[in-house]
């Protein structure tokens, strides 16, 4: 299904930008789900200086690596927030 809609990339091509934050219990359940159903959602990445940096799907990527799954569904996205105003402005001044 994914191979028709999304590219399949080697996990080694994708660079994580975030560490694992789920608890070991949660992560174990994610891996069990991936064993049963595969990686259901494509991993989103941006290309910067020729490298593919993951922006969404870090746990799925790490789970796939742990399970020795070599290729995962992936989708290139553009940097999503470049057009946003400075994030500092997004925080209400009352809580600064």
């Amino acid at each position: 299904m994914f191979s028709q809609q999304f590219e399949m990339l080697k996990t080694s091509e994708l660079l994580a930008t975030h560490s694992i934050t789920q608890s070991r219990r949660q992560f174990k359940k994610l891996k069990a789900d991936i064993i049963q159903n595969g990686v259901r959602e494509p991993i989103k990445y941006v290309v910067y200086q020729g490298e593919k940096f993951v922006v969404d799907g870090h746990h799925r990527l790490q789970a796939a690596r742990d399970l020795r799954i070599h290729k995962v569904p992936a989708e290139e996205v553009q940097l999503p927030f470049l057009g946003y105003r400075n994030a500092d402005d997004l925080i209400d001044t009352d809580v600064r």
């Binding site: 660079l15 994580a16 930008t17 975030h18 560490s19 934050t21 789920q22 608890s23 070991r24 219990r25 949660q26 359940k29 994610l30 789900d33 159903n37 259901r40 959602e41 989103k44 941006v46 910067y48 200086q49 490298e51 940096f53 993951v54 922006v55 969404d56 799907g57 870090h58 746990h59 940097l79 999503p80 927030f81 470049l82 946003y84 400075n86 994030a87 500092d88 997004l90 925080i91 209400d92 009352d94 809580v95 600064r96």
Partner: protein, 161 residues
């Protein structure tokens, strides 16, 4: 999870105090993973309704968890084993911070008699000022503020990770 999300776990204050006598500034990853934090301190109020008052319930891939909010936005997941809460996992969308949601979240955490545990395993009080200060120090915030600069500053480190 996404780079623009700021992640937190809720940990019962009493479970931490049981273990350390006091509240330490941070936890070791091993400690975090090995302790069944909620085992003896289940939330005793209708937390599902409270979460539902500020985030909409959503379908979730596991039948061992309930989830509210958006997968790649602000989200709360409550995980269960044999109907008992095992984890409460929060992801805050730093790209569209909503102070009302942060207020509700700190209120929920206080009612659970819990503390926030950050992605760096720092233990912080459920206080709005405190939370926003930590968010502003986070990678998620730096990324949202200037994605290219964030990647540029971290490109070498990320290549070898």
């Amino acid at each position: 999870m996404a780079i623009w999300q700021y992640d937190l776990h809720l940990i019962p204050r009493k479970a931490i105090e049981d273990l350390f006598s006091t509240v330490p500034p941070s936890l070791a990853r091993k400690t975090f993973d090995e302790v069944a934090w909620w085992k003896n301190y289940q939330p005793v109020f209708d937390y599902e309704s409270e979460i539902g008052s500020f985030l909409s319930p959503r379908e979730f891939w596991s039948d061992e968890a309930k989830a509210w909010g958006e997968e790649d936005g602000t989200s709360i997941e409550v995980w269960f084993e044999q109907k008992l809460v095992t984890d409460i996992y929060v992801r805050i969308n730093v790209a569209s911070l909503d102070v009302n949601v942060l207020e509700k979240l700190t209120g929920l955490t206080a009612r659970c008699e819990a503390l926030f545990l950050t992605a760096d395993l720092e233990v912080i009080e459920p206080d709005l000022q405190n939370l926003t200060a930590h968010i502003k120090q986070s990678n998620a915030f730096r990324f949202v503020e200037n994605p290219e600069q964030f990647l540029s500053k971290n490109v070498d480190r990320l290549r070898v990770a």
